[in-house]
Amino acid sequence: MMSVGLVFPQQAHFSAPLVLKSGALLPSFDLVYETYGTLNAAKSNAILVCHALSGHHHVAGYYADQKDNIGWWDNIIGPGRPLDTDRFFIVGVNNLGGCHGSTGPASVNPATGKHWGADFPVVTVEDWVATQARLADALGIDAWAAVIGGSLGGMQALQWTLSFPERVRHSLVIAAAAKLSAENIAFNEIARQAILSDPDFHGGNYYAHDVRPLNGLRLARMLGHITYLSDDQMAEKFGRRQRPGAGSYSFEVEFEIESYLRYQGDKFAGLFDANTYLRMTRALDYFDPALAYDGQLAAALAPAQASFLVIAFSTDWRFAPFRSREIVHALVHNGQSVAYAESNCVHGHDSFLMDDAYYHAVVAAYLQRITL
């Protein structure tokens, strides 16, 4: 089992206007993406990987000039790996509104010649799926063999089966939910407030002031990070271990967990755009396919033609297994094809990114069944 090795990003420009779910109109947009493996002649072996809140198009492999910059889901993609590039053609895309090359708040608005900033519209999971469909068109892919994603990516994998039922044969929904709970939204709101109340935010137009709301973004990430881990894992990894010089009765970093969160916050704030973070969390909040069906999830999922694999992790309290089972039971109610596996991986919500043997074996076994 190997990595896909050297990869490079590509860019697609879409000049036809896009009407978003909010009603806002984007005159044109760019998506940056990567592909691994080879599209077969029948174009029947394509898998779309959808990313979560902080993800992007660099899913696997590394860049020639940045050998250490390994894709965020490298452990599952490659020759002989569950997403087997000897069999499948894998596509990773940076979502609209992102900050890794696709059109987003930090991009220049062609109408004004300035950064979009606050004017960049709020995008939704449905909007992402619509733009990913345009990328599929550009690549000549009529139907995905599979669409796969974890967390917010899993929501896109689910939405694909509803927006384009005939264009996705299998949907792998991992560590996700059919909608956020009040608690989930509450965490998102605190993260947004951290950004919005940062004096460097400038109403979202901080680019013009040559500053960035780093403190807000850092706080948002620190908070988010707690929800990605499990209590047991934090206890094991950090416990109450203290840093050298602790016990100074001050508010400096004294516990290892503080050091870890600050490090994660700083790292993330240096790389990510606050306006994108706001929009990603809002897309999570808004996702609720059952809303238009009186809250009846089964009715919402009825149009799907895909077969589903739903995976949850017992230590994930952000999207706990019972949230995944809601999706499973709705599909069973409708008589739709679904398999469901629950891994005991200890890494909480982040388990979906981990090289957990059982979880990866399930994905591999499921994808091996797909006829090309």
């Binding site: 809601e326 499973v328 039971h329 069973v332 679904v338 398999a339 596996a341 076994a365 069944r369």
Partner: protein
């Protein structure tokens, strides 16, 4: 312990009609469901607790749902299935009555098979002072997953108490042949179709 061809599968398969919906509880690697799908044209789901079973069932293309039967069938709607199958598993379940009730909530018919503790060879084993080990009770007392040891008569008494309707009963010997006379003595494995 690999049970080569489960004798009760033939009976269960004969009761399932095309396009019927089946839920197989404790489906293992999904062999029964695969057979019901391929031979009988049924549509089915299985529930399996063990990772090895779930993986094998997924590899066979079965709609397997990982879960523990002891948690009941919460989340499954009433009357979702034509048949809910519990093959050689009832004796391993702690919440016996709750599971039977749940099976007949989500399904119109419950199909239950279990080893008959009153089978004559088992009686002989106990008479000789040892717990029975047989084709249908293949474990030693210290490693058995079985929690409950009961007979045809015991099971039918429970059905009467729970007001479950016994629609059909078939009894098999160790070789998988149908037993007609003296089933509680000559039968090693019992297969029941139950209704509400």
């Amino acid at each position: 312990m690999q049970i080569v061809e489960r004798a009760d599968f033939d009976l269960i398969a004969s009761w399932v009609k095309p396009n019927e919906r089946v839920l197989d509880l404790g489906c293992g690697d999904g062999s029964l469901l695969k057979r019901l799908i391929e031979e009988r044209g049924a549509f089915g789901y299985g529930i399996e607790r063990e990772e090895a079973g779930v993986l094998a069932a997924i590899a066979q293309g079965i709609n397997v749902i990982q879960g523990d039967l002891e948690q009941g069938l919460a989340g499954f709607d009433d009357d979702t299935f034509n048949h809910v199958v519990l093959s050689r598993t009832l004796q391993t379940v702690r919440h016996t009555e709750r599971l039977l009730t749940e099976m007949l909530r989500v399904g119109r018919e419950a199909v239950v098979s279990f080893p008959n503790f009153a089978y004559w060879k088992n009686r002989v084993a106990v008479m000789n002072g040892r717990m029975p080990v047989s084709e249908d009770l293949p474990y030693e007392w210290f490693n058995t997953p079985n929690l409950r040891f009961f007979t045809l008569l015991d099971f039918e008494a429970l059905c009467a108490k729970m007001q479950l309707v016994i629609r059909e009963r078939q009894v098999l010997d160790e070789a998988g042949r149908l037993v007609v006379a003296g089933p509680n003595f000559l039968g090693s494995l019992a297969v029941y179709r139950l209704g509400r």
